[in-house]
């Protein structure tokens, strides 16, 4: 190659690169880019149980009920109002008449009924929330805009539950058209949507991004943000750089240390509010040695909770005494809470009659925070003479083991799926839920079961709170779990994002249609 030709080629390359630099996009008030580390699995609301997917489903579909802003009070959405029969077994919903699906057909009661039956028939994750409460015969279409639900047992948490993505209403006609071999349209809805929400799915490149566009005919008004891009950024440090340069509007899933170091950075808002995610350890109450209540209490006194909240969760947590986080119904500050008290721990250990040299297996999954907690617990228990063997397994293996009670002690985190204490209480403490039902302590106490059941029989919040207090008091004394902390909810975004309020329960979700961008 002659020198002249070489120089020519070089000039072209330089020009190309410089041209590209200029092609970076400037501030666009109508496009919102949110970065997440987690890949979206499936868009079918009857299949997914992943927070990262709930985020998209929440704006693609409407529900009978919704939550607004930072409030955890259920609000009307497609249902303008509803009536509950005195026995708590019949719910009648009156629907808005101006809701249209993305294909233009009106949303009617038959779509709501179909969506509920569909979830139950498919029977995957989300349907677990209806077990024992709704079945395929529950929905009754009274007329186009009136729907009645017949419950199998009273369930005062039904309204809060229907406000979540499990209550997403699918376009029954469209889904039926795409049904293959009686799959209720599952294969099709994995990649597509059939909703009526403020956003419409435009494109999805797995592993890269999902693009949603505004539904200009939305009954609640056209959103100001016209395009939402959900960008997959698997590395936290990369995501941080994207946020610092303003290339993304919001960063999610960042680890706590990065979040704290972003505080005070000009142009970036770190919004920290009380959250509802809880972190805990579960004893195996069914087998030796933790079938001994006094020993469980001794361990509960031996843990330095404040050190874990400070050291692992960087101070972004508050003490927790039961599965009910503040401010859900039934949260009660007068109930006792285990605090770090090594002397009491040693006294109880003696009372428990435990011989010297006790060894226990503490199972965890390979998450950084869990590893740190495990090491703190190991050090704390060593002080009272209990040797902790930490055993780490990949997530599916871990679940298999703890569901079958192979642990002495294990760790778990939990965020309530809807704003009612019923789920957290039943899931963790009811004897019918041991093992795969997530009662990982294999805890069975008929009295606790009784009070929880009572709390379902009434809709009166004061009475419910009293019954739940009874159940909590018994469970705190039995100490089947070590309730480590209730975490803060955090949102990290650019300061040009306006009108966003972090919801303590749903910090995974962003109501894109209620926010806007302004410099």
């Amino acid at each position: 190659m002659s020198r002249k030709r070489f120089m020519g080629l070089f000039a072209v390359l330089v020009g190309l690169v410089l041209g590209m630099v200029g092609s970076a996009q400037g501030f666009d008030p109508e496009t919102f880019i949110l970065a997440t580390m987690e890949e979206i699995d499936t868009l079918d609301p009857a299949v997914t149980y992943a927070n990262t997917t709930f985020r998209e489903l929440y704006v693609l579909y409407d529900r009978l009920i919704t939550y607004e802003g930072a409030s955890i009070e259920p609000k009307p959405m497609v249902a303008t109002h509803w009536e509950i029969s005195d026995d708590g077994l019949t719910y009648t919903f009156y629907l808005r008449k101006d809701v249209k699906f993305h294909d233009g057909t009106p949303l009617t009661a038959k779509d709501v009924a179909y969506s509920i039956v569909r979830a139950i028939k498919i029977g995957k994750g989300p349907s677990g929330l209806y077990t024992g409460i709704l079945d395929e015969n529950s929905p009754e279409v009274v007329d186009d805009y009136t729907l009645r639900l017949h419950l199998r047992q009273p369930f005062p948490a039904l309204i809060p539950l229907l406000g979540m993505t499990m209550g997403a209403i699918v376009n029954s006609e469209v889904v039926k058209q795409h049904e293959v071999n009686g799959d209720w349209g599952e294969a099709w809805l994995t990649e597509h949507e059939a909703g009526s929400g403020p956003y419409i799915l435009e494109s999805w490149e797995r592993g890269q991004q999902m693009v949603l566009v505004a539904n200009e005919d939305y009954w609640g008004g056209a959103p100001k943000i016209k395009r939402v891009i959900i960008k997959i950024v698997p590395e936290a440090s990369t995501m941080r750089m994207l946020l610092e340069r303003g290339e993304i509007d919001m960063a999610t899933d960042l680890p706590l240390d990065i979040i704290l170091s972003l505080q005070g950075t000009p142009g970036i808002v770190v919004d920290i509010v009380d959250g509802m995610a809880i972190q805990y350890l579960a004893f195996n109450c069914e087998k030796d040695p933790f079938n001994n209540k006094v020993l469980r209490q001794a361990v509960a006194y031996a843990i330095d909770y404040d050190a874990i909240i400070e050291g692992v969760y960087l101070g972004l947590g508050i003490p927790l005494r039961s599965p009910i986080p503040k401010p859900l119904l039934g949260y009660n500050e007068t109930l006792p809470v285990y605090r770090y008290d090594p002397d009491e721990a040693k006294r109880l250990l003696k009372e428990a009659g435990v011989e010297k040299g006790l060894e226990i297996n503490f199972l965890i999954a390979p998450f950084t925070n869990w590893q740190r907690v495990a090491m703190a617990v190991q050090a704390d228990l060593k002080k009272i003479g209990i040797k902790v063997n930490i055993q780490q397994f990949a997530w599916p293996t871990y679940l298999q083991k703890i569901f079958h009670g192979e642990h002495d002690l294990c760790m778990m985190g939990w965020t309530p799926d809807y704003a009612d204490p019923d789920q957290n209480m039943w899931t963790h403490l009811h004897s019918s839920n041991v093992g795969p039902g997530w009662n990982l302590a294999f805890y069975k106490n008929p009295d606790v079961d009784y009070w929880m059941y009572q709390s379902r029989l009434t809709a009166d919040p004061t009475l419910r709170a009293q019954y739940l207090t009874m159940a909590q008091a018994l469970a705190i004394n039995d100490s089947p779990y070590i309730w480590l902390t209730q975490l803060k909810a955090i949102a990290v975004y650019r300061d040009w994002v306006k009108g966003y309020e972090v919801n303590p329960m749903m910090n995974f979700y962003v109501p894109f249609h209620h926010i806007y961008k302004e410099k």
Binding site: V21, I33, E205, A394
Partner: protein, 335 residues
Amino acid sequence: MLNYVLRRLGLLILVVWGVSVITFTVSQIIPGDPALMMAGLRARPEVVAAIREKLGLDKPIHIQYISYIRNLLKGDLGTSIHTHHPVAQDLKTFFPATFELNTVALLLSLIFGIPLGILSAAKQNRLPDHLGRLYSLLGVSMPSFWLGMILLLIFYLKLGIFPGGGRISPHLSEYVGRTGFYLLDALIAGNWRAFGDVLWHLALPAYTLSLQTTGMIMRMTRSSMLEVLRQEYITTARAKGLAEGRVLMKHALRNSILPVVTLVGMIYGYGLAGSVLVETVFSWPGIGRYAVRAISFLDFPAVMGVTIVIAVLYTLVNLLVDLSYAFLDPRIRYG
């Protein structure tokens, strides 16, 4: 020649079969319930049981294997447990990204590695050689994860002249996606802006990935060149008055390139499976990340699919390398 190729292709089937047996056995031994992962936590027990039956998980392992192979021969790799999507389709989505990245990275390593190697050999123990060796040492010893981070920090965060990851700018993504090879897609669409944008996105990750291999290729070229340069026919060439450049390029390089070609084959095969760290740093939607996620979700159809595809490619690349020997060295004949 044809015979040889056919024999090698037969061998390929054997290798892939062996790989599939091992992967299948290992993925079945790991405790965990794929049916539960597929149904989702809190799914109804009878649904989990139904899925288990549908996937054939209740049958003995050899029966499961036979039915897997039977489906494989029909081109059906099964459905991913995590993405709820046919594995073949997933591979079509994620594989081109890795393939494109590794190809560009390999080209970069060749463009830098071979000339630097030649230069090093020609100027043995002088400044260019020392600098070249330092460069290759740095390249080989720097962890790609860390290097990628540093490059992003400087060229994206501080200087803003390269993008912060991804394969293409969002506003140009309509021009790509047909084949999954974005450079090719942009060419087919005839959109130079998109083509340049894809190159621009490729620059940092490809360079990160290439640095290590550049070092290896350079070292191999250098040592192989040095050996050849000591041969008598090189002295002859110089004695008959050939220009040094002609001696190096025409006489020495061609005879010292064989070991480099072998190395390139291995690097390529390795890169297809081993670029996961670079993919993570640069938000590159590649097969490495897909595989890691598949493993952590016990997604055995996906793990099998990835393993088999990579095994096939690795063997094919090696076959190509062996065949290229015949072109490079006329003394080598296959029959």
